[in-house]
């Protein structure tokens, strides 16, 4: 690379001075770029802001011909209406139970499998590993019809289990765990073996505690994914009282015309938990997304 070649030891005092002058000139350009970034970020986040603000207005002010960036009257009326007229509390419970179910089962089964793949030798190991890798390419969306048939045969339509089961295929979690287990120094395992500890003990006392960080990250992202899932929960449930909140808020039909404040209030409530999770665990979410994407390549 030619630009790199110019870096020779002979960058003398005058060279440094030019560089510094250049850096100062850079800063004006840099300032403009920062301003553009800021404006762009505000535009990007505006729809969310606008949704929140609209939900805090009385319906009569929502349908105003002028743009009011702040409500003239702040009110939670739209939220009370959602609580009074929809089953949002029930939907929240459904979302919580199914998302926690998906997260717990996925993480436990994946961690166990990853430990076996990483630390143990057994017939069928290679086949299993290739099956997991291959399932990356397979679009689970194509299986909706047969998932539905299977859940109907098991009488699991309109149940929590029926929502949970088809969402449990996450090969990426196994691969991330395996990478982390692979990098645990062998000495730990050997020492534990000397003390004739069982595989379960080694897994639960050494490998799992050493990787709590990645477990937290994967758990948060799996939870957010399950909470936000739309297609499968939408198919698996037809009874309003079994719906997840992400599906429920789209199924409330407007018998009395358009109520934007109310609809947006329901939407804000549906997103509230995952948005807070992200804001609190920003670093973990970022880490898990990188880890999951890194192995997809």
């Amino acid at each position: 690379m030619s630009v790199a070649d110019s870096r020779n030891p002979a960058v003398d005092a005058s060279g440094t001075a030019t560089a510094q002058r250049k850096l100062r000139a850079f800063d004006i350009g840099g300032l403009i770029l920062t301003l553009i970034t800021l404006v762009f970020a505000i535009i990007w986040a505006f729809p969310i802001y606008w949704g929140v603000i609209t939900s805090l207005k009385p319906e009569s002010q929502v349908i105003s011909k002028t743009v009011e960036l702040l409500p003239r009257t702040w009110t939670f009326d739209a939220y009370w209406e959602v609580f009074a007229n929809t089953m949002i509390g029930r939907w929240y419970v459904n979302s919580l139970v199914t998302s926690l179910g998906v997260t717990a089962i996925t993480l436990v089964t994946s961690a166990l499998t990853a430990y076996a793949l990483s630390q143990l030798r057994f017939p069928g190991r290679t086949v299993l590993w290739y099956l997991i890798l291959a399932s990356f390419m397979v679009p689970l969306t194509a299986l909706i019809v047969n998932h539905f048939i299977l859940m109907a045969q098991l009488s699991l339509i309109n149940t929590w289990m029926g929502v949970i089961l088809p969402q449990l295929i996450h090969p990426v979690v196994i691969i991330v765990y395996k990478n982390f287990f692979d990098s645990v120094p062998k000495e730990y395992r050997e020492a534990a073996k000397m003390d004739s500890a069982s595989e379960w003990r080694i897994f639960s006392r050494i490998y799992l505690p050493m990787n709590w960080g990645v477990t937290t990250a994967l758990a948060i992202v799996t939870f957010i994914g399950a909470w936000n899932a739309f297609l499968w929960p939408f198919l698996a449930v037809s009874k309003p009282d079994m719906m997840n909140v992400a599906v429920g808020i789209t199924q409330v039909n407007d018998a009395f015309g358009v109520h934007y404040a109310r609809d947006l209030a329901a939407a804000i409530l549906a997103a509230l938990l995952v948005a807070l999770l992200y804001l609190v665990f920003q670093r973990r979410v970022t880490q898990a997304i990188m880890l999951s994407a890194g192995v997809k390549g």
Binding site: V3, A4, V67, T113, L120, L143, L231, Y260, V274
Partner: protein, 292 residues
């Protein structure tokens, strides 16, 4: 020694058992069933009889199937490359910032990605509302009158694509940011000493060094957007779904609205094959480019 090995096998099988059960029952079995079902005339629930490749013959003659293939391709074309390039541009803007400024600005760009699709739908449905939507200001300025974006045929897909990019770009931004961080600052300093312009620096340093990430993002995006359903389904509600039908929607339509389980399975097999072929092809192509 042999006993030790036996013990290891037993332990391993016990550990993988729960996953293997889930994988078998919820992944391998439905996949096999899907292929079988596609050769029958079964309704969604209940038995059907074997009709050979009749469904496949019907599919190749089905105008609505080809419409859904075309619409899906159109959506992919509208989203994949723009979403990748916008992600890179935003990541470059964000990566210049430091400390808390970077965290705040990044969060503003990333937050939409955390939202459920139905929330995204509610927000943008309101933004584009015909009477009171804030987007009607620019739309009226461009077209001279208020425009029902999601009820106007030619605007539907581009508008859904725009919303999708807004929703999912945060993911791309994150990947590009980590890619940009791994480029050594020494190279940039050297380039600055060399009086290289911003454009030269981008073309000669950033773009080639970030290419592996770009390739990764393109791959993930392509496979993701081929499976588009949620946004199209939600935004078309109350309108005519047929002209903007996408593949997964056609599967849904055949199975759950027309009760044609066998035919829906046939379209599912088609989607299955398309996604696998595209991912294999793209993998090969990107590897070839990467080796150059």
């Amino acid at each position: 020694m042999i006993r030790d090995q036996r013990r290891e096998w037993v332990a391993a099988y016990l550990l993988i058992l729960p996953f293997v059960l889930i994988y078998g029952v919820l992944f391998l079995w439905p996949t096999v069933q899907m292929v079988y079902l596609s050769f029958t005339d079964a309704p969604l629930i209940g038995p059907g009889k074997w009709i050979g490749i009749e469904n496949y013959v019907e599919m190749f003659d089905d105008r609505r199937f080809w419409t859904s293939v075309r619409n899906t391709s159109y959506f992919v074309a509208l989203t994949v490359i723009p979403n990748t390039l916008i992600g890179l541009a935003i990541a470059m803007m964000v990566s210049r910032l430091k400390g808390w400024q970077q965290s705040v600005i990044l969060a503003m760009f990333f937050l939409p990605y955390i939202l459920p699709v139905s929330v995204v739908y509610r927000i943008w449905n309101w933004m584009f509302d015909l009477q009171f939507g804030i987007m009607q200001y620019p739309l009226t300025w461009i077209f001279g009158k208020a425009t029902p974006v999601f009820r106007t045929q030619w605007m539907f897909m581009p508008a859904v694509a725009l919303v999708t990019i807004w929703w999912t770009c945060g993911f791309n931004i994150l990947l590009f940011l980590s890619g940009l961080r791994s480029i050594s600052t020494d190279i940039y300093e050297a380039a600055a000493l060399d009086n290289a312009s911003r454009w030269t620096i981008f073309r000669r340093i950033t773009w080639p060094l970030i290419w592996p990430v770009t390739a990764l993002v393109l791959t993930i995006q392509l496979i993701l957007q081929l499976k588009i359903f949620d946004q199209v389904y939600l935004f078309v509600q109350g309108g005519r779904p047929d002209p903007s039908m996408v593949l997964v929607q056609y599967i849904y339509n055949s199975a759950f609205q027309k009760n044609e389980g066998g035919y829906a399975a046939t379209i599912s097999v088609a989607l299955f094959v398309i996604v696998i072929v595209v991912s294999v092809l793209q993998f090969q192509f990107l590897r070839a480019r990467g080796e150059k």
